[in-house]
Amino acid sequence: MGFLTYLINGLSLGSIYAIIALGYTMVYGIAKMLNFAHGDVIMIGSYAVFMTMANSGLPAVVSIIIAIVICTALGVIIEKIAYKPLRKATNLAVLITAIGVSYFLQNMALLIFGSNPIVFKSVINWKGITVAGLTISGITIITIVTCIIIMLVLTWFVKNTKPGQAMRAVSEDKDAASLMGINVNATISLTFAIGSGLAAIAGALYCSAYPTLTPYTGSMPGIKAFTAAVFGGIGSIPGALIGGLLLGVIEILGKAYISSQLSDAIVFIVLIIVLLVKPAGILGKTIHEKV
């Protein structure tokens, strides 16, 4: 395989990271919390797609829509039950609760689906295209295109719609936003809904590319996507895209050219270097303390 193939595979994996990273970055921007359970929402989404498509024979599009609905509902419910009571508590308490939710989802899935890996049937049957001797698989193309569409729509949504503006206002200053008549609770719920809905899409794409599904499938892409969000500057939507793509490309190229065992280490080394040069990530803003 040549460099171009690796690069395209990297961009494809990076696109998935970017979609997951959006969920982290939006929730962090608004609720100032690391939603550790986000990776497990991806896993639930993948199981939902698997159950509806491979088991019940529904068309791929329908099963993805069902998965989105399930994950969206799940995200909102998690926020209401586990995170909302702790909104004014210390960050650490919320972090631990998120870890608790993560364990809960994993063990719930373990009970329902068992620990045996499931071979995931790709949601895309298209073989792909061959350009100048270079074959690009259908899933690769669809993944990259989906990511671009999501980015464009989300950027437009946040900039130009009322709920999007409310989201930006809440992330700047909760109290001020609420004084301006913005429904803070509804806005936070909306953010969780969007992030979790995207996680369902990411799950379907991830498992189509890497077709082994277990209750723990979500945690590694989750943590890497979170790294991507930090990489690009947490809280920033274009940052999530840049961070996700970079991470995916570095991971695949590192695997191909340096060492397949050390690819994770390489990703994290690059992350550390980036943060040392730009302490708030590539597109993040550094906030100075007022004296």
Binding site: Y28, L34, F36, A82, P85, L86, K88, A89, T90, L92, A93, L95, I96, T97, I99, G100, V101, Y103, F104, N107, M108, L110, L111, S219, I223, F226, T227, V230, I234, S259, Q261, L262, D264, A265, F268, I269, L271, I272, L275, L276, P279, A280, G281, E289, V291
Partner: protein, 360 residues
């Protein structure tokens, strides 16, 4: 209690905690001798000590330095591998006790050294960024450990980061660190007694540290960095000292861990970010900055899955629900208010008891 009159309040607390640990230790030894403790629980005694020490280490970092580290399992990993490497290398040449003490010193020193090196860049960052970089370092350590090959033959030591073959050892060669298979056949010297001794040592060192001149400076930096600078404290120096000490103590936990197993490997479950987070759970549940609370939380959470074993498949699910419920119960402002109104806070309960006494 009269004896305690002349010492400061933090020292009193330390003495009480150590006394409690010793008491539990004696009780356990008696129960084991009487055959009342199942082998499953006996198997958990060393892990309880190991993770209690790790919780003490992380508590120093989170509670007193005020920085969230998600990489402490990495320091455990370093302590574990460095000490096991030494123990295995010298298993035939040095007698048990001095070898374990040397292994302990080496494991601790290696963890401290890396803690120091990592802290230099990491402590320039703030908050969540610092947390994610410590997580990254922890993952790197675990990852690199999996590709290290060291062998020994008549010629000497061979080192490779590729595979066993590229070591180029002669036939009599013996593997010491074998990549992802790690180190096998480390002398198993981590008994419950050793664990308790190390835990007490870790408690005394950290408690004395945070209640000394240096510790006060560290806490001042945590409370208000700018004010700390204006009273002349070299902020970076003290953050570095505290982080290094925290890493060193995590290294002690690693030494205890590696000498309790036949085969030592670095996996996601024992040295990955999952474990770092687990230790953080112990710390937060036990109360940030509260060493004895951390030990209690570690013990309860390690024993809980075993106690729930009767419920088989549901035990981890129940565990996660308990975790969420505990966090909400402990930290939610609404619940706090409800507890205060109903006199269910610690102070409220104390007041109630003392009132009863007066009535009698």
């Amino acid at each position: 209690m009269k004896l305690l009159k002349n010492v400061t309040a933090p020292t009193q607390k330390l003495i009480r905690t150590v006394a409690a640990v010793v008491l539990v230790y004696i009780l356990m030894e008696i129960l084991i001798a009487a055959g009342c403790i199942s082998s499953l629980i006996q198997g958990l005694l060393v892990p309880v000590c190991t993770y209690s020490i790790a919780a003490v280490a992380l508590n120093l970092c989170v509670g007193y330095l005020g920085e969230l580290s998600l990489g402490h399992a990495g320091f455990m990993c370093l302590g574990a591998f460095a000490s096991a490497y030494f123990s295995k290398l010298t298993a035939d040449t040095i007698p048990d006790v001095p070898r374990f003490i040397l292994a302990l010193i080496i494991g601790t020193a290696v963890a401290a050294l890396f803690g120091f090196l990592i802290a230099i860049p990491v402590l320039r960052l703030k908050g969540d960024y610092l947390a994610i970089v410590t997580l990254a370092f922890g993952e790197i350590i675990k990852n690199v450990m999996n590709v290290i090959y060291v062998g020994k033959d008549s010629v000497g030591l061979h080192f490779s980061m590729k595979d066993q073959l590229s070591l180029g050892m002669s036939v009599d060669g013996k593997m010491i660190i074998n990549g992802a298979q790690g180190i096998t056949g480390t002398p198993r010297q981590s008994t419950f007694t050793v664990g308790v001794v190390l835990l007490i040592l870790a408690l005394i060192i950290t408690s004395n540290f945070v209640n000394s001149r240096t510790g006060r400076a560290v806490k001042a930096i945590r409370d208000n960095r700018i004010a700390a600078e204006t009273v002349g404290l070299p902020v970076s120096k003290y953050k570095l000292i505290a982080f290094t000490l925290s890493a060193a103590i995590a290294g002690v936990a690693g030494v205890l861990y590696s000498h309790s197993l036949n085969s030592l490997t670095a996996t996601t479950n024992n040295f990955g970010y999952n474990m770092s987070i687990m230790i953080l759970v112990y710390v937060v549940l036990g109360g940030i900055g509260n060493f004895s609370g951390g030990i209690i939380a570690t013990t309860v959470l390690l024993l809980l899955p075993e106690l729930l074993r009767g419920m088989a498949d549901y035990r981890m699910l129940i565990y996660s629900i308990v975790l969420i419920a505990l966090m909400i119960f402990n930290w939610s402002p609404d619940v706090q208010k409800w507890k205060a109104v109903n006199g269910l806070t610690l102070d409220g309960i104390k007041a109630r008891f003392s009132k009863n006494k007066e009535v009698q």
